[in-house]
Amino acid sequence: MAISPVFFYLFAAVAILCSLMVVFKRNPVANAFSLVLVFFAFAGIYAMLDAHLIAALQVLVYAGAIMVLFVFVIMLLNADVPSFDLARSHAVVKVASITGCLVLLGLFIWAFKNTTFHAPIANFTPENVEAAGGNTRVVSELMFSDYILPFELTSVLLLGAIVGAVAMAKRKAGPNLPPGYRGKA
């Protein structure tokens, strides 16, 4: 693929380092801001892969809306518990998880390395897309013609999510648990 290796490896290194920080740092705020950097790196890679609309949406929706939601909830809960608890889980579970993840990674890389790409299944080459008015225009026209049903279903999904989020975050009238219940430490 004709994308610049220098910038691809730069964005990839940033994304991998920051996603490791998302998983392995203790402070939730540090996790959230590393995740923002991961999203920006992904947006750069999308832009290099000629997915301009997706890159813009990545910045707007992920790095904008979703991360504001995360940071807001972290602030709201103020749950400043040091919660890096690898040590508290069973060693067997820990080792099995990491081993399974590494095996899965090897499997993925093996599979991707041996993928044979078939001939292109459509004619949206970069030149054709450019001639038809650019990536955003082509994607939008497809969205409102071939993909109109999923697009409309999306609005139903968003409505359901709004109602569900309000219903769950709403303060209940009476506590259905004994006061002072904290679970077993």
Binding site: A51, L104, I109, A167
Partner: protein, 110 residues
């Protein structure tokens, strides 16, 4: 100078991009399995969704098909809905248990 120009106009094999997204997916999976803070688990799920998006976009470019990018659009919408509902659940859980630790979710054991 020629070498520098080649570095900026050269090729990245598709399997390298796909493997990069697999690395991010596996990091997110490890986060879901290892961490106990439910906020971080939700962030790891977002990481996994992002890596799947990158796979879609890579195949979309490779196969000259726009369906992959449309799928990414719908995945982004689902991710936004999912994180809104998930964070509502977290607030509800914190109100009940005063904790964001998944080990505290053991009401059925009482």
């Amino acid at each position: 100078m020629d070498q520098l120009t080649a570095q900026f106009t050269g090729q990245v094999e598709p399997w390298v991009v796909l493997s990069f997204s697999a690395v991010i997916f596996v990091i997110g999976l490890a986060g879901v399995l290892v961490r106990r803070n439910i906020l971080v688990i939700l962030m790891s799920i977002e990481l996994m969704l992002n890596s799947v998006n990158l796979t879609f976009v890579t195949f979309s470019k490779q196969l000259h098909d726009m369906g992959g990018q449309l799928s990414v659009f719908f995945i982004i919408t689902v991710a936004a809905a999912e994180s809104a509902v998930g964070l509502g659940l977290i607030i509800s859980m914190f109100r009940t248990l005063r904790s964001v630790d998944t080990d505290e979710i053991q009401l059925l054991r009482e």
